[in-house]
């Protein structure tokens, strides 16, 4: 009796299974990645109603973060500046700039400028800015080099795993409280570590501060979820 199936069909089943597995794995990984904060969030760079440049205000003019985000050290929120704050300068500087028209309109009408929100922690997580910036966590750790951005984008995924990474290894991020808003600060700026004779490294200064300030970030649910 002749073979009904040609010889090559012998390997068909394993090949199909292998291929099928590959397709399923790829799909799974793809969907997985599609849902991760890394894909969904990082790089989100919406167009804002006013083309405000952080790089101009911070790098060129030398404004401190806290001039506009004035309550970051006392409140959970880092407040977006009021129109009044913008107009403190812009009544005199670039007072006629068309780019600033929405700000002037807002000031005249009392209707706020609606900035597009970029960083968003879910409702069930209670992030508190003041708990971080008062204890040596710099803006740059979560927001990236915002001082160099012309248009702000999301730099870090800000998911729970990412949060816990710092909460478990805070020595890798801590810096002196005075340097929190200096986004270009490097540990080496502190000079030579007398203990090693070399410039300070992040791990050295971070560990030192962590011990001195008794930094113990919460790693259980109730730290952030209430």
């Amino acid at each position: 009796m002749a073979n009904i199936f040609p010889r090559w069909t012998n390997t068909l089943a394993p090949k199909a299974i292998f291929l099928g597995g590959l397709v399923v794995t790829t799909l799974t990984l793809g969907v997985w990645y599609y849902f991760t904060p890394k894909y969904t969030r990082v790089g989100y760079m919406p167009t804002q109603p006013v083309p405000f440049q952080h790089s101009l205000h911070v790098q060129q003019l030398g404004l401190d973060c806290r001039y506009c985000h004035s309550f970051v050290e006392v409140s959970a929120h880092s407040n977006v500046p009021t129109t009044q704050t913008c107009m403190n300068c812009h009544t005199a500087i670039k007072a006629q700039s068309p780019k600033l028209q929405p700000v002037r309109d807002s000031y005249a009408s009392g209707k706020p400028v609606e900035w597009v929100r970029i960083h968003r922690v879910p409702d069930y997580a209670y992030f508190n800015h003041s708990a971080h910036v008062n204890r040596g966590v710099s803006c740059v750790s979560c927001h990236g080099q915002i001082n160099e951005m012309e248009v702000v984008w999301q730099d870090q995924p800000q998911g729970m795993a990412w949060c816990l990474n710092c909460h478990r290894n805070s020595e890798q991020f801590l810096r002196p409280v005075t340097e929190v808003t200096h986004l270009d600060w490097k540990p080496a700026d502190l000079g030579t570590n007398p203990a090693t004779g070399h410039p300070w490294t992040q791990l050295e200064i971070g560990s030192k501060l962590k011990a001195a300030w008794n930094v113990a970030p919460p790693v259980t649910c109730a730290g952030c979820h209430r």
Partner: protein, 1135 residues
């Protein structure tokens, strides 16, 4: 070999007392066993309706999910916006709360408050601890005021003849009215207000009466304290107000006075009483409380000796007591003797059975001369108050525990009563009637037939918070502003001048009473403080040390919320016997009725702990709060004791051998009360400890026209209330009615087997045993309270699990003092307000799905039949204990080990935390919780409204169940205004999520972060000692709940936990709760009848009963739950 741990057996004989929460428990009915053995009551986990099983539901859900399609459109975040202020708002920091002082006007004087506002909306009210009458505590009404503010059913429109009109039209109308009234000097105009003690309103009234000399000014509030005022006026003269100093009283006799009711006695009565009740060490003295009342009140629950007596006989009882006191005093009692001469001799003779009781109370009061206090209930007739004042007088208590104050002059003539107003209406003297607040159509005295009278007035202008019964018959309805929306002022009970500051603009554009009066004066309806400020400067100018800089003083006034030094001064007036005798002679027959004749029953119209006079009927938090004594939610009922119910053939819910069912529904449980031609129908509820031949029914329910929450709740008892019988109807008929009504009673929800959960002992026993420690081993050392009952027979604990090390600097713990807890429910509602706990509705409560995180267990206790102290005559006299139970935050939490998704875990600081977004709703945790404190969101209570069931779709399914959760048939989405009441720092939970007390973790985190802001680059992370507390501890007027850092040996909570009376509930389970209790102490008078049985519990003597240890082999015996951790050391553990 399998080893099964057996719980130590219940040892009823060790403890001479039996504690039960319901009659079902007392009789151990099968229905009660059902409640006991399940984490949630039977049926709580089932779907509604007959045709919709869980399986059907899943099939439907599966199909609809498939039909809905599986799109990815929802995966991307929608664009959202950050909206800053255009100009910064003074004091406002986005994300931070701002606190303002304000006050809540109340019928006995203002409650000083501090309002927490977040971004312009008030989210929580606390007491103002700066104020002399406050200890920072509040009561359920103040807590629930917030929900009233955001009530979506509030009156929203100006109505003319029931049609919405513009505000301008109303202002024009008021202008026209003013013009026409000016011509006649106010002839034909009357104003009916509620008492608010507002000096500004008094000032406006004076201005009005200058312009309109003929204007009639009337005050009405159905529960307004009236009798003691009248008695004081008769005996002490005008302008005197008596206050009671519980902080100075050693022996207190309450004659039907529920002074621990926070509305009746105020915060200060509970605070001062509890301070004298608290026993921290063997050296502390403790006051003694005698209570005479007809139904159990929370004051009766705190009594050391309690006597059941019909309310109508309390007056005669006072006469009998007066005779005893006068007799004992001899010559010094002459003034009292003269007074008593006015009474018929027969009266004192009615109490032959209680003779020993009377003699010993009188002797005790006499022994505590100057430190005793006799009180008469607020709605007992004025004659009873007079007598009580006379008794206090001869006992030398006046000037010590009873202090006479000069009441501030209010100006103007004495306001007309509502009866006077009714007469004026009859005489056609009223053409324009302004009703500012109140709801007379619903709650006026029945003999006035107010509806018809109001209809006969040509123009009625009604300022009302709801479009209610009174608005229905008014030409104009004006929405009223909430006290958190208006400028105003008021006085607290001691006369201190307090400010009412607005926290938010009127949500629905309402006006305050001051604004309406101002309109009548031809002024603009200001919404600024001009009016109040003028009054403030006038009153302030009269106080000592008033600063010359008025602006500075005004700012201090707004900051503190009150004006120091403005309290009423003491009065020189004394008790005038002659005047008192004159008053009594005229009033004895009316005020001291004969005993209720055989075949009739006395009906007592009580004010309710929940809806007040009916004004809070639409408040879901209050409606759902279980009544402190009956534990009934959402309704009122005719309360009756078993003997009386049997006598009149009443079928009552919640009872007796087979006639009992778990959901409180019994067959034909309705009854009809007949007084003259008036009939009132209501459901009957059995209430142990009620007086014989007496029934009680609470006022304030059965509202006809109110919001969605209050409709179809309870029964209206106001038709029974007349000018003759304002508080009790001495003789009425009662008969059963063949109708059924479902009541929901929560007393069996989350029941636990009687394992000495609640502990009490006489104070003398405590003092004998204080400091005594059992056990030599450091680990096993326990105080005598810890050894009470079966705890004496428990082998040392062994844990199978590794204990986490709790070495963080903050370790949170709580202590609840059962000795001072009155069971007032303030903590239950404060927790609800703080933690965004939803209202689930009557139907869901009936299924055991109530969500409050704190429950207050109310235990009745009686002596076991086989106990030598058992006295059959005392069987109808159970005692009451209350015990708040919330999450114990066990260090070895059983709930945590069974969670498959780690949604409940322990924090470094000893909190048993819930991560809601991780919870998948297996409910294993609540199954494994020995305290039954976990609550499950069976439905989306926050997203779907609960509704009174009326005609319409599906009404047949929910027939007879009012306030039901309708699921998909209900309205979807939370009302906009109700979103504003939510605390932004607490997650709003959704369906399918377990929740429970968190020890207010949001407050803990806020305190820690605030300290981090201080610490900055230092290691000073320790939160200052006792610098914050949980919502329940903050609200507790008795100071019974203490919360803090147990790692700090000097913190308040650590100090309390070191007391000898400290014990942990179910300690033998070795779950190591962070919540501990301090045992209830009672202070019986040894000479009283039945004194030996009061609070008496034989201490568990270890030798009495053989210790209960693990049994070998599988046992047939059914156990409450099996706890593997109780097994022998690890190696032997096999499953």
């Amino acid at each position: 070999m399998k080893r099964v741990f057996q719980h130590p057996p219940e040892t009823p004989n060790v403890n001479g007392r039996k504690y039960w929460r319901s009659l079902g428990e007392l009789n151990d009915t099968p229905e009660f066993r059902g409640w006991l053995e399940r984490e949630f009551p039977a049926g709580a986990a089932e779907m509604e309706g007959d045709g919709l099983s869980r399986r059907n539901f899943l099939q439907l859900m599966g199909a609809s999910l498939a039909l809905a399609g599986f799109g990815l459109s929802g995966c991307r975040r929608p664009e959202t916006y950050l909206v800053p202020y255009t100009k910064a708002v003074e004091w406002t920091i986005p994300g931070k709360n701002v606190l303002y002082a304000t006050s809540m006007p109340r019928r006995r004087g203002a409650m000083p408050l501090v309002a927490t506002t977040t971004e312009g909306r008030p989210i929580k009210l606390e007491g103002n601890s700066l104020h002399p009458l406050s200890n920072g505590a509040t009561d359920p009404y103040a807590q629930c005021a917030l929900l009233d503010l955001y009530d979506p059913d509030r009156a929203r429109f100006f109505l003319e003849g029931g049609k919405p009109v513009d505000v301008a039209k109303f202002t024009a109308f008021m202008k026209g009215t003013r013009e026409s009234l000016l011509a006649s000097g106010g002839q034909g105009a009357a104003i009916l207000v509620e008492e608010t003690f507002s000096p500004t309103r008094d000032r406006l009234r004076a201005e009005l009466s200058q312009e309109f000399p003929n204007l009639l000014w009337c005050v009405y509030d159905p529960l307004r304290p009236f009798n003691d005022v009248e008695a004081t006026r008769a005996a002490f003269g005008d302008g005197v107000r008596l206050t009671h100093r519980f902080d100075r009283a050693d022996v207190i006799l309450s004659l039907d006075a529920d002074f621990l009711n926070l509305d009746e006695g105020g915060i200060e009565a509970t605070r001062d009483f509890s301070n004298r009740r608290r026993v921290a060490s063997a050296e502390d003295s403790m006051n003694r409380l005698y209570v005479v009342e007809n139904r159990y009140t929370i004051t009766g629950g705190k009594a050391d000796h309690r006597l059941r007596l019909p309310a109508s006989q309390v007056g005669a009882f006072a006469v009998a007591l007066g005779r005893k006191v006068a007799g004992l005093l001899g010559g010094a009692g002459a003034p009292l003797g003269n007074l008593l001469g006015a009474f018929p001799a027969e009266m004192a003779g009615r109490f032959a059975k209680q003779d020993q009781w009377l003699t010993e109370v009188a002797a005790d009061l006499l022994a505590a001369r100057g430190k005793g206090l006799v009180l008469a209930g607020e709605r007992q007739p004025a004659g009873v108050h007079l007598l009580v004042q006379a008794i206090n007088g001869v006992l030398g208590n006046v000037g010590h525990t009873v202090v006479a104050h000069a009441s501030e002059s209010r100006g103007g003539a004495e306001p007309t009563s509502i009866s006077g107003l009714a007469e004026a209406i009859d005489a056609r003297k009223v053409q324009t009637l302004f009703i500012l607040g109140g709801n007379p159509v619903y709650n006026a005295l029945a003999n006035l037939n107010w509806v018809e009278r109001q209809k006969s007035v040509p123009t009625v202008v009604r300022l009302g918070y709801y479009d209610d019964e009174t608005s229905e018959h008014a030409a104009w309805h004006v929405p009223m502003a909430h006290f958190l929306e208006q400028w105003g002022d008021t006085r607290s009970a001691d006369g201190t001048y307090c400010v009412i500051q607005p926290m938010i603009l009127p949500l629905f554009g309402g006006l305050s009473d001051l604004q309406v009066l101002n309109l009548l004066l031809g002024q603009d309806p200001h919404d600024d403080p001009t009016l109040v400020r003028a009054t403030f400067e006038e009153i302030g100018g009269k106080t000592a040390n008033f600063p010359a800089d008025k602006a500075l003083a005004w700012n201090a006034f707004l900051r503190d919320g009150f004006l120091p030094g403005s309290a009423a001064p003491d009065s020189e007036s004394g008790f005038n016997v002659g005047a008192a005798i004159g008053y009594l002679k005229a009033n004895i027959p009316a005020q001291f009725p004969p005993p209720t004749p055989e075949g009739s029953v006395e009906v007592v119209l009580i004010s309710d702990y929940k809806v007040d006079d009916g004004r809070y009927a639409n408040n879901g938090w209050l409606q759902e709060m279980p009544h402190p004594i009956t534990k009934m939610a959402w309704d009122n009922a005719i309360l009756v004791n078993a003997a009386t119910a049997r006598k009149f053939g009443l079928h009552y819910a919640n009872f007796e051998n087979g006639d009992y069912s778990a959901d409180g529904a019994a067959s034909d449980n309705m009854a009809e009360i007949t007084v003259g031609g008036t009939k009132v129908r209501a459901a009957v509820l059995l209430s142990p400890g009620h007086a014989d031949n007496s029934v009680s029914i609470a006022l304030g329910y059965g509202r006809r026209r109110t919001g969605r929450v209050g409709r179809h709740t309870g029964f209206d008892a106001y038709p029974l209330r007349t000018a003759q019988n304002t508080y009790f109807v001495p003789a009425a008929r009662i008969a059963p009615v063949a109708e059924n009504y479902q009541l929901v009673v929560t007393q069996q929800h989350q029941a636990m087997e009687g394992r000495n959960l609640v502990r009490e002992l006489p104070v003398a026993t405590y003092k004998e045993n204080a400091g005594f420690i059992y056990g030599e081993d450091e680990q096993a050392k326990r105080s005598f309270v810890e050894m009470m009952g079966m705890d004496a027979h428990i082998p040392p604990n062994v844990s199978l699990y590794r204990n986490p090390s709790y070495d963080s600097i903050h370790q949170w713990g709580m202590a609840i003092d059962l000795n001072t807890c009155t069971g007032c429910n303030a903590c239950v509602v404060a927790c609800q307000a703080e933690n965004n706990i939803p209202v689930v509705g009557k139907d869901q409560v009936g299924r055991g799905r109530a969500m409050q995180w704190i429950r207050i267990d109310r235990y009745y206790s009686t002596i076991e039949d086989n106990d030598p102290l058992h006295d059959p005559t005392q069987d109808e006299d159970p005692q009451i204990l209350t015990q708040p139970v919330t999450c114990h935050h066990c260090e070895n939490a059983p709930c945590e080990t069974v969670c498959p998704v780690n949604a409940t875990i322990h924090t470094e600081e000893g909190l048993n935390a819930m991560a809601y977004n991780r919870c998948i709703g297996t409910r294993y945790c609540s199954n494994n919780c020995p305290y039954k404190v976990r609550r499950f969101n069976f439905f989306n209570y926050n997203d779907r409204s609960i509704e009174p069931i009326e005609e319409g779709v599906m009404s047949h399914v929910w027939k007879g169940k009012s306030q039901a959760y309708l699921g998909p048939f209900g309205k979807n989405g939370m009302e906009e205004s109700l979103k504003l009441v939510k605390n932004p720092n607490v997650t709003v939970r959704m369906r399918g999520v377990m929740e429970k007390c968190t020890f207010c973790v949001q407050r803990i985190e806020e305190a820690k972060i605030t300290q981090l802001q201080v610490a900055r680059d230092s290691n000073n992370k320790l939160v200052p000692r006792d610098s914050f507390t949980t919502a329940c501890a903050q609200v507790c007027p008795a100071g019974a709940i203490v919360f803090g850092n147990v790692a700090d040996p000097e913190s308040k909570v650590s100090v309390v936990k070191r007391r000898d009376t400290d014990y942990k509930m179910l300690e033998y389970l070795n779950v190591r709760p962070r919540l501990s209790y301090q045992a209830r102490l009672r202070n019986p008078n040894p000479a009283m009848p039945g004194a030996a049985a009061v609070g008496n519990t034989l201490l568990g003597a270890p030798a009495n009963v053989p210790p209960a240890v693990e049994k070998e082999g599988g046992s047939e015996k059914k156990t409450h739950s099996e706890d593997p951790r109780k097994e022998a050391p690890e190696g032997q553990h096999k499953v």
